[in-house]
Amino acid sequence: MSRTAREAWDVVVVGAGGAGLRAAIEARERGMRCAVICKSLFGKAHTVMAEGGIAASMGNVNEGDNWQVHFRDTMRGGKFLNHWRMAELHAREAPDRVWELETWGAVFDRTRDGKISQRNFGGHEYPRLAHVGDRTGLELIRTLQQKIVSLQQEDHRETGDYESRLKVFQEYTVTRLLKAGADGDSAAGERIAGVFGYARESGRFFAIEAPSVVLATGGIGKSFKVTSNSWEYTGDGHALALLAGASLINMEFVQFHPTGMVWPPSVKGILVTESVRGDGGVLRNSDGRRFMFDYVPDVFKEKYAESEAEGDRWYQDPDNNRRPPELLPRDEVARAINSEVKAGRGSPHGGVFLDVSTRLPAEDIKRKLPSMHHQFKELADVDITAEPMEVGPTCHYVMGGVDVDPDTAAAVGVPGLFAAGEVAGGMHGSNRLGGNSLSDLLVFGRRAGLYAAEHAASFPGAGRPVVSEADLEAAEAEALRPFGAEGGDPAVSEELAENPYALHQELQQAMNDLVGIIRKGPEMEEALRRLTELRARSRRAGVEGHRQFNPGWHLALDLRNMLLVSECVARAALERTESRGGHTRDDHPAMDRRWRRLNLVCRLNGDSTEPGADPLLGRVRLERREMPPIRDDLLALFDKEELVKYLTDEELTS
């Protein structure tokens, strides 16, 4: 008999970043009782780290902007692999989502006429990113946090309890989604019934029953060695969805941000915001050359400056000049930096130079990029107002994610499950534009909350899916395994216990080296072999101590998720024999229009035949799926000459 405490709510949101909090606000405002669960403290989710801004075509700085232009930029950035409907909804709704934040107390930087200021960013035709210096994510998450508090204050006035309708379970980790059959029986496992996990502080288990669960768990970057992502990014939501029978798409597309810190080693990977370039910073190699002019790909030739002089004029006069190539989409810039370093033209610590010091007065730099100034000074002893920074690519964002319905954010194939934010797939295609994540969080977070509330409301009282005792016991046993790990106990296994930290480091190294920014078939096959081996060894990941706030135990449990998600990335990347956006194949360097129509869909391989296969660790199966054709009026937003670069002839004629 399980001793896990159960609670019942209408909607459970897993994740308290931008997507999760926006979803929770919506669900609560639609009258549902909503529980939010997050691994860190409230207000510390990854969203807090976002720097540059939030993309929305408000047209405050350039009136030429509108949703159609934003839509076009987004599709180009994603090399037309985006789900067009998501890109459309995103572009249409982003301005309302930003304005709404002001009514909740957000204080963005202002234009001269008192509107929200907007800045330039890679791939965006007009200045489009609403921002607060370079700490936009902090503003976003704090505003949503404070909106949640204000709703709790309303509830307190009415019910005497702040948490009667909206409660944040901070420092709780979900390890399983729970399902139930139509008749409340779990074996059939048709629909979502709740979540299971542990409280980090006490190590105690919990289960929350709810007909709707929204995944808003963010990304997967902790599977790579050099990353801008925090410990939270172990791909939990991606793995939870897979294990619950949902599918993932576009997992081969991982964004390597071109500018991460490279020195000193302990900060390697920490992000240097793209605003540095948006505000005038330039990239140079060891010869002092602005090498990006040598890397403008054909599809973008007409849109970018051909000379430094033209690029420089653009900052003042964007209508008569083209933008500098430092502002190409991230995949292009990251590849270019990689090539320069490989060609021996890198900086002393294996990056290239990013310089604002010769481009802007010191005072402007401190005002526009305060946290970059602070970060370099404190962590690298570099004064960015006086000398260049050294930067190189860092794993930053995963375009792939849960396969969802574009309008409702409902996960395909699992009734009651929804996904929004970085954990959802489709919106960004093969490459995300900077600033399009924060807006994505709000647009689809709201939609997920809305439809999760509707779904929950269709189960009034009795008839709700019920979590079975057997499922709870299985989830408990799985979570406790690291304490009685097979290794180290001669009765169970000859081999020694494995250190979860060491396993994690090996995984990161393998993904970084073999499925990183530039990929090759044989290397990815090697990666898959290593993943299999790591999966076997991870069964023996053991921990000491007790369950109270024990990071070794937490990591041992996270390994399951990282291994599963890494396998998706490696398998899909091996399968896609072309280069597009965040997926670059050395052995297939060209973009292939025939691949444009195809999504690779990952599912859990239910009937694994591997001897001794561990059903809990699972394995992944790939499927090719054709994308729905882009709606005519949206296609009409592009010139024919541009479309032929992306679409096949049949697509263009039909």
Binding site: P95, E139, P265, Y501
Partner: protein, 254 residues
């Protein structure tokens, strides 16, 4: 350029604990949090610590290093004397959960007690107009990463558990100031007096402007000078001369 450092890390839980000695490698450029992580990966897998961003942006990794409240991720090892032991202890003003992790729920409770932003009546989404110079102050306060180091340091609560129920602490008094200085906050029209609230509900009177909070703020926010003192002045204005207050409010609006 590596060397072996002597660390003394507090290990324990609510029932008690003690400093534990470790000898651990330090490499060039590392911060205290790197060393804590190295301990986890090598000899203390269950050492409890909070962190997220490792870049001074999330405010998770607060602790006391050689008795000084600091972010572990922004404390360079090169600032510390390699000959001396490095003593890392949890924040003192909050109950210990385990090792370096403390129970900071006090802060979340205080956050709930500050009346929220009141959207101005009749101004719809997209219609907000504010000048940069008028939002600068609120923006300075909104740089707060909620590391709670100021809350941990302020002597009103650091060793005075009894003051906790009546004192919101510098971070949340600053929140009151932030909202009070927001050019479009409609609290007054809605009958909420933020200044009086600061005095009567949040314990502004306990603050005797020692500036200890300002000194530890990793965001370099001038909490005392820019938030607390002006709030005190305004509260006084409000108490003795409502007309002065009204005038200042009207002036700010135009």
């Amino acid at each position: 350029m590596s060397y072996d450092a002597h660390f003394k890390v507090w290990r324990g839980d609510a029932d008690g604990g003690s400093l534990v000695d470790y000898t651990v490698t330090v490499n060039e450029g590392e911060v205290v949090l790197d060393i804590i992580h190295r301990l986890q990966a090598t000899e203390a897998a269950d050492l409890a610590v909070r962190w997220n961003c490792k870049a001074g942006k999330c405010g998770s990794c607060s602790a006391e290093i050689n008795g000084r409240p600091r972010l572990m991720c922004m404390t360079r090892m090169s600032l510390l004397d390699p000959a001396e032991p490095v003593v890392v202890t949890p924040m003192r003003a909050f109950p210990v959960v385990r090792d370096l992790v403390t129970d900071v729920s006090f802060n979340y409770a205080k956050a709930r007690e500050v009346p929220s932003f009141v959207p101005p009546a009749g101004v719809g989404p997209g219609e907000y107009r504010m000048q940069q110079e008028d939002v600068g102050r609120s923006q300075e306060f909104r740089k707060c990463i909620e590391c709670f180091l100021c809350q941990n340091t302020c002597h009103v609560v650091r060793d005075h558990e009894e003051n906790k129920p009546v004192f919101a602490g510098p971070r949340f008094l600053m929140r009151v100031a932030e909202l009070d200085m927001h050019p479009l906050d409609g609290a007054a029209e809605a009958g909420i007096d933020r200044k009086r609230g600061a005095q009567e509900d949040h314990g502004l009177g306990y603050c005797n402007i020692t500036k200890c909070c300002t000194e530890v703020c990793p965001e370099h926010i001038k909490i005392t000078d820019n938030a607390l003192i002006p709030l005190k002045e305004r509260a006084v204005d409000r108490k003795y001369d409502p007309l002065v207050w009204l005038g200042s409010k009207i002036r700010r609006r135009v």
